[in-house]
Subunit: 339 residues, 3 copies
């Protein structure tokens, strides 16, 4: 190498090494801001809102990964919800975990995390778990109104295990979460297969949900199939505890049109309580359109309607109280921006 | 290009592209830490404090912008107050917004944000809205003591519009904020002109401030004029609701001396309530000096005195309770550091 | 310089200058995630937990420094605790400070910060102040159960001064913290010497701890000596207020084994109250091993036992209530990851 090349390589390396110093902490800041306007009608009462999280939950997070050699890595993930309508935020209750992972043996993850059974609700619904059209408006808990297990979405005090990649499309995870002398002990797992446009997964869990030791049990099975511009989604999600039971099934579709996606979903939910004879049904119909301005930014609108049977009380949350059997309607439009 | 040049250009590009990867999220972390010591005297009661926010409010924030092509951009801004004296913080109630902006058509902004009428109070006072000398110590609300509309500074649930640049010095913004079935519906606007050392702006707003539908109304008109080392500032700010009314006028000046600025302000505030005959006046005199150690770091000191008429109860906040007609005095010195 | 070299140096400089722009804010994000599992036995009651902070307290922080020229610099430090087991966080109560420092004259620091007297507890214990083996489980406060001064670890409203470097191994700091009309006025200092493997320091403080003006007084003296793979640590820590007094002494050791460290500690604490004749003793024995996967990531396990005299009530916190004289036992294993 002659002097000239040495000189310029030195200059380039100086720039690169300054960069390396700047990158030492290798922390990624990420997040979502999602705000819109919403009109909710429960029975004959209407409420206009500045709404949030119509596409995805507003959030801020920090994450990073360290390579330890030999295919081993350590990583962390901190993520907390933001309420941009009122400027709320401050905790890390969306996820706060530390992981040790091996390329061959999989990942052990400790902290507050999503439960395995949550993912089928999120992944196999056309509207995920956000906005007026989300199947979760009905699917979460028994009836969308009364108390539900706190492990439907996430669990405190969890130890999770995730299968490694490279298993021919099979994926899976299991979680146990300590009750710590109180209620909330969770045991659950999810196993699935993804390949050739198909994605299917089965989830099962059991949570010790009260001091009496009653178990809140969840079973779900979901799938999606993508062919060209069309993605079809389906889910069965059942939960029960002592005399109460809720059975849900959901079908949905995404259809890509230019730089946008048309989304549609139908949810059927039936809630029963053998202790008092309660037995009612709710149906949610949702139709929406997402216009992608870029990979990070979209405009969206969704129209959704919940029809209850005579004694039903399913609803789109956020509006006025609902009378038994009333319908619930929601229309929203907003902007989603991620960073 | 010969081999040697190829080699070194490749090295330089490798450094540059590693940088590009590091910048992907393009999030800027920013903030202020501002801490000092303060001596407050209300009537004959004195209190010594570690004070904060004498120059600017301590804060941390994250912001970013994405170019969408065709002059369109999306951006977000998250900003929350910090109390470095006690380590408080955690929300984003200073600002939590997402925006879609066009170079030609202006910006639409959703979330929690400053009200248009706030900016005249902030921009056209020699001490902004911070520290013992701030005109806002008197100007905010009706009398600095009793309940005021929550939209004097910011509003939840807002949709704002900002005029684009390139209008020959004219600037402006408007905001509507949803009451969401409760109180707090805000409608307001601000329009101004800046050029040739002059900056003037007019603000108007109306907030539905209680369940009875009473309107809290704000009018303000402010301006500044810079000539050489001297900047003169002036503001008229009036607010009223049903039988209560407060009228304020403020004059002030900045004078650059070497790497520092001398600041002076005089505030005259009159509060009246036709329901009970209350009618009193407060006057604030403030003098201060800011020594800039750099663009990001300053040392400052401010001396301020509030004189009340016989039944007045204006004061510099943070100290002991005040008796009607008592004076309020404050002296502070601190360090301001931004990042 | 010929054309080829000019070209490649230009490319290198472009990369470097893009980097400089990216670094403008010069803010460092840092933190710790530390989660494990713990088994606590108080008397005959056992509790299994997902534990946190066994090695170091989980946290996130932001810090930065600005060179002002002439050896002067301004800096800030924001740091808040995280509870990854439940996703808690949001304040900056670990530290929230702004500093002005001179290479020759030392540093003035304002805000919420560690008290000088804390550092001897932290630095001269084999387990620092974290986990089941920490001497602080006994040393903090009078008896580890009843109310203690809030300045044992940190103080609000503080003004601190730190000696500059380059004093031949002598280091030191002093702090005063405003009571602000309430309790909590702290005055304290720490001075030490570090060199040739030796590190010793003396700390003294006095806090006005209640409305009656009673003083909470702390004295401590600690040291460590490193020779080869062995580090010996020792501490005397005494605190008293009116009729109550606690005297503690601690010895410990670190022994480096390959990429790991064996840690051992013994604590002797005696608590007395002349008002009611209380007089009891607690002893803590702890043994642990830290396996370093890298500088940033470790696996650890610690076993600890507290033996109380007949009326003692020292314990390892987090488990069941303890009866007088009962023993307390803790076993934990976890992963520590810093970023």
């Amino acid at each position: 190498m002659n002097f000239q090349v040495k000189l310029c390589v030195a200059a380039a390396l100086a720039a690169a090494s300054a960069l390396a110093a700047a990158q030492t902490s290798s922390v990624t800041v990420f997040g979502v801001l999602d705000v819109g306007v919403q009109r909710l009608k429960n029975g004959n009462k209407t409420l206009n809102l500045e709404s949030i999280d119509g596409m995805q939950t507003s959030r801020i997070g920090f994450r990073g990964q360290e390579q330890l050699g030999g295919g081993l890595s350590a990583s962390f993930h901190l993520e907390g919800a933001i309420g941009p309508d009122i400027g709320s935020g401050g905790d890390w209750r969306r996820r706060a975990t530390v992981s040790l992972a091996s390329k061959d043996a999989g990942e052990v993850r400790l902290g507050r995390d999503y439960t395995p059974t949550f993912w089928n609700i999120s992944r196999f619904n056309a509207f995920g778990t956000n906005g007026v059209g989300a199947a979760s408006n009905l699917v979460y808990g028994f009836d969308g109104v009364s108390g539900t297990s706190k492990t439907v979405i996430r669990s405190d005090n969890s130890v999770g295990y995730f299968l490694p990649g490279g298993l021919g499309g099979v994926y899976g995870q299991a979680m146990v979460a300590a009750g710590e002398g109180s209620t909330g002990r969770y045991v659950g797992a999810r196993v699935g297969y993804a390949g050739s446009g198909l994605d299917v997964a089965l989830g099962l869990s059991e949570t010790t949900n009260n001091a009496a030791g009653d178990k809140f049990k969840v079973f779900n099975l979901g799938g999606s199939y993508t062919v060209g511009a069309l993605k079809l989604l389906g889910l069965v999600h059942n939960s029960k505890q002592t005399t109460r039971e809720q059975k849900n099934w959901v079908v949905g579709a995404h259809y890509a049109v230019g730089s946008g996606i048309v989304r549609a979903s139908y949810v059927n939910a039936r809630s029963r309580n053998s202790a008092n004879g309660e037995d009612y049904t709710g149906k949610l119909f949702a139709l929406g359109y997402v216009h992608n301005l870029s990979k990070r930014t979209s405009l969206y609108t969704t129209l959704s309607q919940v029809n209850n049977s005579r004694t039903g009380r399913f609803l789109i949350p956020g509006g006025s109280a609902i009378a038994l059997g009333d319908d619930s309607r929601g229309l929203e439009a907003g902007i989603y921006h991620s960073f």
